[in-house]
Symmetry: C2
Subunit: 80 residues, 2 copies
């Protein structure tokens, strides 16, 4: 089973990486870009077939290790 | 309009960040995790309403700046 975890900065949190990307793109001539935010995706291989248990486990992983919940939010997709 | 760019290492490319995540998770007692890969997501705000043009522009951005196409692959989703 696969769990896809999307982690991004919460709205309002300053995103210097995103700003650097937006600025570099406009410097390269891509004038249509008005903003950019960068997040990360972690793809986990999980043993077993219980999607509900997997979701619970991955939520625990996010809270304990994967996300900094002070400034980041996360979303979990489970795929069989 | 929003463009969501998913960038990940190509299959077979060593992913030390993913390995570190998988190892840390098993060290924390999450034995169900058998592997992890880390990628990134860039969310771009794009002016205009032409989805086809936006996709073409974002493809150019990926080739020129956002992705290292030697080792990374990318996927673009356009949202209105």
């Amino acid at each position: 089973m696969k769990a896809i975890v999307h982690i991004g900065l919460k709205p309002g949190v300053l995103d210097p990486q995103g700003r650097a990307i937006a600025r570099s793109l406009t410097d390269l001539g891509f004038d249509s870009v008005t903003g950019a935010r960068q997040g990360k995706v972690i793809e986990l291989d999980i043993k077993g077939n219980d999607a509900e248990k997997a979701r619970q486990d991955v939520t625990d992983m996010c809270e304990k290790l994967l996300a900094n919940t002070v400034i980041e939010s996360y979303r979990i997709d489970i795929e069989n």
